[in-house]
Symmetry: C2
Subunit: 117 residues, 2 copies
DNA sequence: CTGCATCCGCGATGATACTG
DNA sequence: CAGTATCATCGCGGATGCAG
């Protein structure tokens, strides 16, 4: 997992090392990651359920984004060995620690919308 | 400015409309926007100063990211009609209202780094 | 000093079909 | 149900040169 941090360790801002910001943005900034985390913060969700809840996302992208979130330790994947197979996704502790930020972003976004009609 | 909201108005998540999150992510999620906002939150900064403070960014990208932030009402642009011209950038009120989120992201990022070494 | 214009490669994303 | 594989595309972003 640590290798995902590569490319962030060598940036040197003089005012202040802003890398943690970039890192966070890199982790949650994917095209659909915000929505995914937001949904998972409310309830554990299965693959097809996620797909249904996120209109417009392709199966491929959903898989990829989930894999990245998993690699970053944000999301947990639990396979039920039934037939057909069921796969449940949920937030890890680290993932849950992101929800305050997500919620701040929601509030800011709503505020922004209301101010710009 | 309102037209930048297009594409967000029609997303319909059943669990909850997550669009404000996507919108916020869209506004601050650019490759360098986090750093830019972070720097501007500390002090007004001129173009070349920004370029110097952000190693690795190309002139082109700095211009583009600043233009987007300006179009989104996050950043203010002030031209000093000297020779040579000087252009100062600063946060708008809306831009300043983002800094708590940015700071949360910094803290989360630092925490993340220390936990994943 | 602060940009804009142009060219271009590459990665991100979509569409579609196939699988255990 | 939950993916994987493959192909095609499209825009991001880098490099470079020009301009006021």
């Amino acid at each position: 997992m640590g290798n995902r941090l590569n490319g962030f360790g060598d940036c040197s801002i003089e005012v202040e090392r802003a890398c943690p910001i970039e890192l966070t943005l890199h982790i949650i900034g994917g095209k659909w990651k915000g929505v995914i985390i937001n949904i998972l913060s409310k309830k554990d969700t299965r693959f097809n359920e996620l797909k249904r809840l996120i209109p417009g996302i392709s199966q491929r992208m959903l898989t990829l984004q989930l894999r990245e979130l998993e690699a970053d330790g944000i999301v947990k994947r639990k396979v039920e060995e039934t037939i057909p197979i069921k796969v449940g996704y949920s937030l890890t502790h680290q993932g849950e620690s992101l929800t305050p930020i997500i919620q701040s972003m929601r509030m800011w976004g709503n505020d922004y919308i209301s101010k710009n009609e």
